[in-house]
Each structure stands twice: as C-alpha cells, then as structure tokens.
C-alpha cells in the first residue's frame, strides 16, 4: 500500500517540479529553489519505491501480482534482482528511476550553463508521463486487485511465483537491460537542452552544453544494443546477432537518429550552420525513443514480433500515445515559432567541404532510420488500411542497407579528406588518389581471401575506403592529441563491424545434422559426435535441463561444446528452450544450435485392440488377450504421485488359460503432446518374459475400439538403455569476432569524444560562471574557443 502511495506521490512531485521549473525559467528564483527540492524528493521516492519492489521480490511476497508473475522462490539472487525489470511494469519503473537519477546529475550541470529552469521543466514533464505509466501499469498491484473480476479475495496469497522465463536465466539479463534503459533515459537530455535553447533563443550555445550528453547517450545505447546482440548469439541460440525484430529495431532507430545528430551538432559547432536541422534531429531522437516504446509496448504489433510486450491495456495505450504526441507537439511548436530567428545565420555549404559531406552522411543515416521505421511500423500501417498484419521480411532491411551502408562509408571517407569551409582541389585529388590506391589494394586482398559476391565486394571496398582514411587520421593525431581520436576510433570500429557482417552474413556455412548417440557423423569438413547428456541446474523444479556433449573434430584438432535443450513447465512444455554450444575462434566460430532430440525405441511395440488376442513375440506358445482396462479411480496412484491405469490381460500358455487375470500397470503423466506412459514391468507368470504397457488409446464412443501398445523383454537381463538422437544445426561463422571487436571499438571512440567535449563544456561553464551577466557569456565563450586546439570544435 505504501508503495502505491509513493507512486502517486512521485507523480505529484513530477507535476509540481514541471510547473515550478517552468516558473523558475521565467526568473522566479524561489520557484526554482522549491523545484530543486521537489526534484530531489521525487528521485528519493523512486529510489524508495524501487527498494520496496526489490525487497518484495527478494522476500517472495507473492501477494503482489508483479512479484508472483516474474519471480519464484527457487531463483538465485541475481535473477531475482533481474525480475525487477523483466515485466512491463518493472521495466517502466527502471526507466523512470534512471531518468530521475540522470536528472539529479543533470540539474546542477544545467544550472552551470543557465539552462536549469527551462531544461528541467521539460525533463520533469517526461517524468510526469512516466509517472502516469507507472500509475497505469503499477508494479505494486495486489493479486486480489488485478484479478478482482475473477472473484479473488483479499486474503488470497498465491503459494508460488510463476518464475522468470527460463530464456532469461543467465548473466546477460543483469547487464543488458539496465544499460539499454540507461541509453534510453539519457536520450532525453539532448532533447531538453534543444527545447531550452529554443525557449531561451540560444540556438548555438545549447550545442556545447548538450554534445557530451548526446555522445554519452549514443555510446551507451550503442553498447546496450551490442550486448543484446551478443546475448542473442551466445545464449539464446538464435544463430545470429541481429534479427531485425521490432524490439531490436526499437533501440536501433533512436540510436541512428542520435548518430546523425552527433555529426550535425559537430557541423554547427564548427560552422554555425544546420541550426534548424539540429533542433529537428534532437526532437526526432527523443520522439523515436517514445515511438519505439509505443510500438513495442502498446500491443499494436501483435504477434509480428517474437519478443514485444503484450497488450498493456487501454489506459496505458493512450498514455503511451499521449506521451509521444505531446513531445512531438512541443518540439514542432517550438521549432516553428522560432523558425525565423534560427535563419539569421543561415549559410549554404559548398560540396567540397567537410561540413557538406557530414550533412550528407547524416542524411544517409537518417534515411536508414526512416527505412527501419517504415519496416518496423509495417504491420501497423497494414492494419490501418485494413490489411492482414504482416511484418516485412528481414531481407527488406538487408537489401536497403546494402545500398545505404556503402554510401555512408564513402561519404565518411570523403568528409575526412575534405577540410572545413573550403578544400583546394589539388589537395583533394592528392588525398583521394592515395586513399583510392590503398582501397583498391585492400579490396583485391579481400577478393583473394574469398569474398566474391558483387554486393559484398562493393560493401568491403567502401568499408576499406573509410578504414584507410580513418587509420591515416588516427596515425597523424595519435602523437599530437589522443583526445582527438574519438571519431576516427568509432569509424574504424564501424568498418571492422561491417567486415564481420560481410564475413558472417555472406559466408556462414550451415549444415543440418542428425547425431545418433556415440556415432561419429561427418558434417561438412568436420566429424561431430554426440557423446551423451548431463542434467544441470537441478534446483529448478519446472524443468529437467540437459546439456548435450558434442565433440567437433577435424584432423587432429578436436573440441567439445555443450548445447542445451530442455522443456519447462513455464510454457507448459509447448516448445523447447535452446542454448547453443560455441567453439570460439579468431578465424571462425563453430556454432551448434540444438533443434530436437528423440529417444530410440528399444522395444518393438505390439498394438492390441480390446478383446483381441496376440501371440507373444518372443514365445509364440503364449497367447495374450486384452480383456479390459482398469480406471484410474480404482488404482492407487504411483509413489511419485503419477496417475495409474492397468491393462487386464488373460494369459494362455500351450492353450491353457491362467487362473487369474494379469494386471499390467502403467504410470501416466500429461505433457504438451498428450499423455506420456511409463510402464511398470510385469512378469508373465511361469516364463522369463516381462510385459509393459506403453500406450492406451481410449475410444469413448465405442470402448471395444480402444487399444493398448505393449512391449516385452527378458526379465533376467538388465534394462537396455535407449540411445538418443540429437538433431542440430552446425554452422561455421567466419570472422564473427570482428562484429564484437568493431562495436567495442565504436563505443571506445565515443568514450574518447565524451571526455573531449565534456572537458570543453566544463571550460566554457567556468568562463560563464566567472562572468556576471549571462549576455556577456557569449563573448567570453568566443574568446575561449579561440584558445582551443586548431583542429578542435
């Protein structure tokens, strides 16, 4: 109850701080002072709410719907903590907590630049909408509140929790979502500074203030996206690192817009051009976070995504829609009313300048964002026009990017060959010639190494062009100023990433293999042997999780990997949970994705209809007649609790009927594919043979049509162990390591740039603080810019 009150208190505080910060931005110092206090209070309230939720999860308080739905008593601590954000409600709480936490750091930063009132009022408004979402999707609802319509009483406490989806039972769940949500949360900062810039009519200064934050948001979100890809590849057994699923795209779209924004901000910082573009992109980057959230959490995509959230209900749907529409309206309104002002310093760029190429590059990145948005929104667009809701094929994204990505690389390379403001043609020709020769040589090597598809050669050539030029620049700056390396390191990382994509998407070799246990099987150039399986994670009672030992040998080189396949009660055992087995390598990964498993039938089954007779397969002197079946209600349950049924069989030996009917019991359990029968071996009197009942097919309309399947064995011999057949997809994924190295390098480049521009911003704020009048700040900043490194800005 306290937590529910806290959520409402938080919403009240968010509304108050929005109003008070807005009053503060109009010069009301007292309002500003109170707003600061309220903002700190709302952050504390959220911290308290989050602590309560964690405590409820850790103490297994299943009175709460959220705790009951996403956790269970058998989960280890790190997964219990991850349960916090595994559902829609908890992930909203985490997002809100992170926005508030960043706000606590942002407020004093904004104050240093004179942006506190304006920026924090917009920032608080974001929290208002998040607060409304928390009210609509309250993680502290009691079970009796959620299921009141089903007549659940207040006193009802569920015995156990549903638990966390077994797919999420790994370390990545504790790392990936918090980083991704930090990226999402920090994407709002450039938006609020842009809006504050518009309110204060400071169309250039906000760039300096917001640039380190924009870089940080882009870097963090990019890192979070990469971790998701790595998780999918390493643990989830999806076979790849990127599937163009709407949930993946929903992170990628704002990231792409933010990357475009970073580049256009740099252009404005240097040339004072692209003023309106930056405002629009700052709005777009944040709005795309909201739009993506709306797409994946409102239920509009339906079943066209493999892992979007379920329908959150009408109230949450409308809040999500209002959230998005409100911020689009605010952004558009402010940009339009300040439009004339912003054209004061308008200038056009000539094509032979760096700023021109950076603008074109940003436009290409935006084209990518637009096309991914169209693809992701496709099911919604179809629904609007009354057509069946279908997702676009992933080849749509692949094919459009086969055109866009090479262009981005070429434009990136050209932008670095050109200078700011103007570039003499002779200089351009000389630089271009050197880069072209190096690119041609590297591309030729790539072709010799086996890249032969034309589209891949074009992509590789473009990536080499960018890589060569960025490497040249890195080399020239590495001794002069390491702080300047950020952009080049990031571009280099992007090129490496693309080489990994070329190799793995164009040249992965996939084999389908059926591996009988203990039998070496030739698969491509390798010999695969399924050696056996071992049960792991026995503490979980919803599953029997097995890891399958598969050795991969080629020549004298041999290794064993352990893919995992199991069924769980979590999804009523409807489909298997899979984890791949990977042999990591510098040149290639060997990747085994489990597909299916089947037990060998060690006994030959014999089907008998009720009332009919059969000869026993091993001894034809014995005749068995299926008299009838016993009902489960007349049988004692098995010691393990399973239901029992029996076939009642009349045995006849050498034509002589036995005095009594033989009872042949079996244990029955319900599975997703029907009834499973576990025979209790029964000795046939006077013989060495045993009989087992392995299936009953009951015909309720005509009981005489009911049948039983029997199996037989020599009771003097031990039970044979049935062999298992393991079906897998075996792939050789060349140079996939470059994908991970490339992304880490990209993120490292962002880190360099954040440090550089944060330092510059700090220098400017110091100068601003030392001047009494805010108007004199502009002059001081100009003077300070003149003292920077000649290649900076």
């Amino acid at each position: 109850m306290i937590a529910q009150i806290l959520i409402h208190m938080f919403l009240g505080c968010a509304v108050s701080s929005t109003v008070l910060y807005a009053m503060g931005s109009r010069g009301n110092a007292n309002a500003l002072k109170v707003a600061r206090g309220i903002f700190s209070a709302l952050a504390l309230i959220l911290l308290a709410s989050s602590t309560i939720l964690i405590t409820l999860i850790l103490s297994h308080d299943f009175r709460y719907t959220y705790v009951q739905s996403y956790s269970s008593a058998d989960l280890p601590t790190h997964l219990l903590i991850a349960s916090f954000y595994s559902g829609q409600e908890g992930s909203f709480l985490l997002w809100t907590l992170l926005v508030a936490g960043i706000g606590v750091i942002l407020a004093p930063y904004a104050r240093r630049f004179g942006y506190e009132g304006a920026a924090m009022s917009f920032y608080s408004l974001i929290l208002v909408f998040l607060g409304l979402l928390l009210v609509a999707k309250n993680p502290f609802a009691y079970v009796w509140q959620t299921y009141a319509a089903d007549g659940i009483q207040e006193t009802f406490v569920p015995e156990k929790g549903r638990g966390l989806n077994p797919l999420l039972h790994n370390a990545w769940i504790t790392i990936h979502p918090p980083i991704l949500f930090t990226g999402f949360a920090s994407m709002s900062v450039s938006f609020v500074f842009a809006m504050a810039g518009l309110v204060k009519r400071e169309y250039h200064r906000w760039i300096d203030v917001a640039l380190p934050w924009t870089l940080a948001a882009t870097g963090i979100l990019g890192f979070g996206i990469m971790l998701g890809g790595f998780w999918a590849y390493e643990t989830l057994g999806w076979g790849g690192f990127w599937g163009w699923d709407p949930v993946e795209n929903s992170s990628l779209i704002p990231w792409l817009v933010s990357v475009a924004l970073v580049h256009t901000m740099l252009v404005q910082k240097r040339t004072r051009g692209l003023v309106k573009t930056n405002m629009v992109l700052a709005v777009a980057a944040f709005v795309m976070v909201l739009y993506s959230t709306f797409l994946t959490r409102s239920g509009v995509l339906g079943d066209t995504s493999v892992h979007s959230f379920v329908d959150p209900g009408k109230f949450a749907f409308w809040i999500l829609l209002a959230f998005m529409v409100t911020f689009v309206a605010i952004g558009v309104y402010l940009v339009v009313i300040r439009s004339r002002d912003m054209n004061i310093a308008r200038e056009d760029f000539t094509p032979t300048t760096r700023e021109f190429m950076l603008a074109i590059g940003s436009a290409l990145i935006m084209a990518s964002a637009v096309l991914v948005t169209i693809g992701t929104s496709w099911p919604v667009l179809l629904e609007i026009i009354g057509q069946p809701k279908v997702a676009v094929a992933t080849t749509f994204y692949d094919n459009v990017h086969l055109i866009l990505v090479p262009l981005v690389f070429v434009v990136n390379g050209l932008s670095l060959l050109l200078q700011w403001r103007s570039s003499p043609l002779a200089v351009i020709r000389r630089r271009l010639a050197v880069a072209a020769v190096a690119t041609a040589a590297c591309t030729a090597v790539t072709v010799v190494l086996g890249v032969h598809k034309p589209e891949m050669i074009v992509l590789a050539a473009a990536a080499w062009f960018s890589l060569v030029i960025n490497a040249q620049h890195m080399w020239s700056f590495i001794t002069k100023s390491a702080a300047m390396l950020g952009a080049y390191v990031s571009h280099l990382g992007f090129a490496l990433l693309m080489f990994g994509v070329i190799a793995t998407s164009g040249y992965t070799v996939v084999h389908h293999a059926v591996l009988p246990q203990g039998v070496p099987t030739a698969v491509g150039d390798y010999t695969l042997t399924f050696a056996g399986k071992e049960q792991v994670e026995k503490q979980f009672r919803d599953r029997e999780k097995f890891r399958y030992a598969v050795s991969i040998a080629r020549g004298s080189d041999s290794t064993t990997v352990f893919p995992v396949l199991y069924y769980s009660d979590f999804n009523q055992r409807q489909s298997a949970f899979l984890e791949p087995g990977i042999r990591w390598g510098m040149i290639r990964d060997l990747y085994i994705s489990p597909k299916a498993t089947e037990m060998e039938d060690v006994y030959k089954k014999t089907t008998v209809q009720r009332g009919a007779s059969i000869k026993m397969p091993f001894d034809t002197t014995i005749t068995l007649q299926l008299e009838r079946f016993s009902m489960p209600t007349t049988e004692e349950p098995a010691p393990d609790g399973r239901m029992r049924m029996s076939a009642l069989v009349q045995v006849e030996s050498f034509g002589v009927r036995a005095d009594s009917i033989l009872r042949v019991p079996t244990r029955i359990s319900q599975t997703s594919t029907g009834m499973a029968f576990d025979p209790e071996w029964t000795a046939i009197p006077g013989t060495q043979w045993g009989i087992g009942l392995v299936k009953i097919v009951r015909d309720n309309e005509n009981v005489d049509q009911s049948t039983a399947d029997f199996v037989f064995r020599d009771m003097g011999k031990p039970l044979p162990t049935p062999k298992e057949t393991f079906t897998v997809e075996f792939s050789e994924k060349p140079l996939i390591g470059l994908v991970w190295i490339g992304v880490v390098t990209m993120v490292a480049g962002f880190a360099f740039s954040i440090a550089r521009y944060a330092r510059q911003a700090a220098q400017r704020s110091t100068l601003l603080v030392s001047t009494e009048s805010p108007h004199s700040g502009q002059q001081t900043i100009k003077a300070n810019t003149a003292n920077l490194h000649p290649n900076e800005s």
Partner: protein, 119 residues
C-alpha cells in the same frame, strides 16, 4: 545545394521506402495444403511461416465440440482451425467467409492456428 539534395532525398525516401516495404511485407492467399507444404519446407529453427487462408466456416468451435473451428478453404478442403486472436467485430458463424492469418501445426492431426481474422 545541400538543402535541395536533402529535401529531395527526404521527399523520395519515404514513398520509395513504403513501395519497397510493400514488396517484402505482403502475404499471398494460400490453401491449407499449400500452407502445410510451406511449413514442412521451412527450417526447424523457425516457427512455421505465416499464411493467409481465405475460408468458409463450416462448424463453429462450439458446434464442432472439439473447441476448434472446422473450415473449408478455396479448394474445398476441410481442416481444423484454432483461433486465438482478439474477438472479431462480426461473429464467426457457420457459413461466414473470412481470411485467417496464422500458421500450420503439422503432425498426425494438423490444424491451423490463426491469430488474426479479416473480412
């Protein structure tokens, strides 16, 4: 010049994007048998591909007594259909002709699991 390039590109990208997406994001109407064949030829790593089947309902789920709708496709083949989508505006009565989107569950007793329904 830059403005001209970017505005032109912006004007062109959206319609081209929608046109290209339409080439990759449509579903042809098929029969149940065709959907079964497509499902059987897909790799095991994927869920059976989605299919759009125009049908005439013969027996509603209630009438069939099995919880499944019995429907007839354009070739007149009858098959079982389980519908788990949101409640349609018009009831799915016997004799109604509609289009279902879903995928085939193959096996000894194949059926079509539909999640969307359209007129």
């Amino acid at each position: 010049m830059l403005r001209l390039i970017i505005v032109s590109a912006a004007v062109v990208v959206v319609p081209i994007g929608i046109y290209v997406a339409s080439k990759y994001g449509t579903m042809e109407e098929v029969t149940f048998e065709r959907a079964r064949v497509t499902a059987a030829s897909s790799t095991e790593s994927e869920q059976a591909p989605k299919a759009l089947i125009p049908v005439t309902i013969i027996l509603t789920a209630e009438q069939s007594g099995t919880g499944m709708i019995v429907a007839k496709d354009s070739e007149g083949k009858e098959f079982n259909l389980s519908f788990t989508g949101s409640e349609p505006t018009k009831p799915l009565l016997s004799g109604t002709s509609v289009r279902f989107v879903g995928h085939v569950h193959d096996g000894p007793n194949p059926y079509f699991h539909a999640t969307q329904v359209y007129e």
